[in-house]
């Protein structure tokens, strides 16, 4: 009677112990060596998993960094602080000068733009731009329905007076808004550069003037006023070359339509 209870218990226990020991031995013998720096790096990273670095989330970036495939300042969202910390772990010098932020290159507010029709539809720029390229006469302008606001993981974009505006302090230059905007108006621009041409209209001067009070009419006064060869015409619209721009502001002084504006965030820029 007792043996019929003891024996099953013994047999099962013996089998369990045998397999447990075997597995423990196997897990030690076939251990996969993981570089412990990967976990440290992963902790430092912001954890937004936005993919701005070009890798599969923060895990992917951590692995690539430890393998030496990417530089410590490859995470734009982490910014200079993260880059410096990562540089210390990897023993690498880090260059943290180029901090970028997103900028919406359109100033076509409600008060200065002209509209073709009233729009009652999905509150989404991508959807609205399917309908005759949007309700503005200017087919290149910001529709202000907030697709970029929804795309931003850091709440850095707001709609003011019918157009999108980036709060540059909150922007982590992940690039999601750049990809979302159907008019391709948003671009990542170095934060130290204060002047921007707030228009991307490819229409000719007279047409742009009719559609919007503050559009670029292609008069080329700015290209002549610039002493640093930093602004050029691309078709009928001016564009600033930020490699050469020195923030002198001459272009804004001569612009007749106030298409070039100064976004004064210089006080908030991260310095080395």
């Amino acid at each position: 009677m007792l043996s019929s209870i003891i024996i099953p218990i013994l047999v099962l226990s013996a089998l369990g112990l045998l397999f447990g020991a075997g597995l423990a031995y196997a897990s030690k013998k076939f251990e996969v060596k993981v570089d412990e720096r990967v976990a440290v790096v992963r902790d430092i990273l912001p954890g937004a998993n936005c993919g701005a670095c070009g890798h599969t989330g923060c895990d992917g970036f951590a692995e690539a960094l430890v393998e030496g495939k990417v530089l410590p300042n490859g995470c734009p969202v982490g910014g200079a602080d993260t880059a410096l910390m990562l540089g210390k772990i990897m023993g690498v010098e880090v260059d943290t000068s180029e901090v970028k932020a997103a900028r919406v290159h359109c100033n076509g507010r409600d008060s200065v733009s002209k509209y073709k029709f009233e729009y009652y539809g999905m509150e989404d720029c991508v959807a609205a731009s399917q309908l005759f390229a949007g309700r503005k006469y200017c087919t290149y302008g910001c529709l202000g329905l907030g697709s970029c606001v929804k795309a931003c993981p850091f709440d850095a974009i707001v709609i003011v007076n019918g157009i999108a505006r980036v709060i540059e302090d909150r922007c982590r230059s992940c690039g999601k808004c750049v990809a979302t905007c159907p008019k391709k108006l948003i671009e990542l621009v170095p934060r130290t550069k204060e002047y921007s041409v707030m228009c991307r209209s490819k229409d000719k001067g007279p047409i742009t003037k009719k559609n919007c009070d503050v559009g670029c009419i292609g008069c080329t006064k700015c290209t002549k006023a610039c002493q640093h060869d930093a602004i050029h015409m691309e078709g009928f619209v001016a564009k600033i070359d930020y490699d050469k721009c020195v923030n002198c502001g001459e272009c804004m002084n001569v612009c007749p339509t106030m298409a070039i504006r100064r976004l004064n965030y210089a006080n908030n820029v991260q310095t080395k």
Binding site: S4, I7, P8, V11, L12, L15, G16, F19, G22, L23, A26, S27, F30, E31, V32
Partner: protein, 191 residues
């Protein structure tokens, strides 16, 4: 020798584990999206089922029968199979991380997969000796691999087909599986 061929043919075609016996449906539907993953899964199952058949046969003959504890069959067989699958997982993680990631959760599912336990129990029921039991296990797994790879091909084709909205995804997969299963009924009179 003739018995072994009969066992193999029977397990792969006539009594295919997935399509005729309806054992091991979960990984069959879960891993059959791509042919390459299906092959990897099939290989893992072949290894587990062959070794599990041999190990469980040994446990039955050397432990359960002598000590008259045949009623512990289910639990001891599961113990053996679970340990084996854990071992396969450790090996895979070391030697083929891409297959390990591709199989994902379906690898431990081989443990609770009724196909493996089914083969072990059928071996006992049919009174096979050690060689026959191992061969049966390997052949059953080969049949599983055949079914899963065939079905992966069918599913890859389904990706490009025009399917009614209500049948898209899982429903059409199940219907296709049923049709493949009916097709395998054609092997019934073979042995």
């Amino acid at each position: 020798m003739k018995e072994l061929i009969v066992i193999i043919l029977g397990a792969v075609l006539v009594e295919n584990f997935v399509l005729v016996k309806f054992l091991g449906i979960c990984p069959f539907l879960g891993v059959s999206k791509k042919v390459s993953t299906a092959l990897g899964m099939g290989a893992a199952v072949v290894f587990v089922m062959s070794v599990a058949s041999a190990a469980t046969w040994l446990v039955q003959e050397l432990l359960l029968i002598p000590y008259e504890i045949e009623y512990l069959q289910t639990i001891t067989f599961i113990l053996v199979i679970a340990a084996l699958v854990q071992f396969v997982e450790i090996i895979l993680k070391k030697f083929s991380i891409s297959l390990y990631k591709a199989l994902g959760v379906y690898l431990p599912l081989i443990t609770t997969n009724c196909a493996v336990l089914g083969a072990a129990i059928i071996n006992v029921q049919r009174g096979y000796n050690l060689l026959e039991a191992t061969v049966y296990g390997a052949a059953a797994a080969a049949g599983f691999t055949l079914a899963i790879v065939l079905f992966a091909g069918v599913r890859e084709r389904l990706e490009y087909s025009d399917i009614p909205e209500s049948l898209k995804g899982f429903p059409i997969s199940l219907i296709s599986a049923a049709l493949v299963s009916i097709a395998f009924l054609g092997f019934q009179g073979l042995l």
